[in-house]
């Protein structure tokens, strides 16, 4: 398991080629890459604030829950903070499992929980000003589909 919270850019292709390289018992590798999206009035910068210490702890807890719930060989989460431009990679999730069902489900679970349970806050900075990105109800609702006995 690997959790990285960093301001520096990273290359998703390099992460993927290094991920689960030594494992021959894993038949499925799933990755998700989040990229800063341009908004209608022209996003110039996405500022991402986080809570050092709690961020690493919260993500590690979420990954541990995923590892317990699905039959995963490994999982990696990388999330950036700081000032990012449109087109830059914000974050990446990678999972591997013997079969694809577990790898896909765990990757979606990780994404849903990172959205609303990892202490990051995004601010869009455009020519017309700065706006904190508001949490969406649908992101909170997305957690509902994972609710069984596990709580993160």
């Amino acid at each position: 398991m690997q959790v990285r919270v960093q301001s520096e850019p990273f290359e998703p292709g390099e992460v993927l080629s290094g991920f689960a390289r030594e494992r021959t018992d894993q038949g499925a590798v799933v990755t998700f890459t989040g990229v800063v999206r341009n908004v209608a009035d022209g996003l110039s910068i996405m500022e991402i604030e986080h809570y050092p210490g709690m961020t690493e702890r919260a993500i590690t807890g979420i990954v541990e829950t995923a590892m317990e719930r699905w039959s995963l060989g490994d999982a990696t989460v990388i999330h950036r903070y700081g000032r990012l431009k449109a087109g830059e990679v914000i974050m990446m999730v990678a999972t591997c499992a013997p079969h694809r069902g577990d790898a896909f489900a765990a990757a979606e679970f990780l994404m849903d929980y990172l959205k609303s349970r990892a202490p990051f806050w995004k601010k869009e900075v455009t020519a017309s000003g700065e706006t904190w990105v508001e949490a969406k109800d649908e992101d909170e609702d997305a957690l509902g589909r994972w609710s069984t006995s596990d709580q993160v």
Partner: protein, 83 residues
Amino acid sequence: MTLNVLYFAWLRERIGLSSEAVDTDAETVADLVNELREREDRYDLAFSDMASVRVAVDQELTSLDASLAGAREVAFFPPMTGG
């Protein structure tokens, strides 16, 4: 007790601080919020809509009615927007 109180995102901007040491006898997070709101208008404004404030005690997400017994660090922030 002395708590290290942290503020993030728009709470940090409205209060004008990212962290401060607070001497308090508050028993719960809600008591602490009430104490802070009585201090100054900027706190009162920042905490005027508690439905949009989340709290962590010692880096664990919790609720407003959480006890502060033994706590060292309390953080206030808006709903998270990671991913």
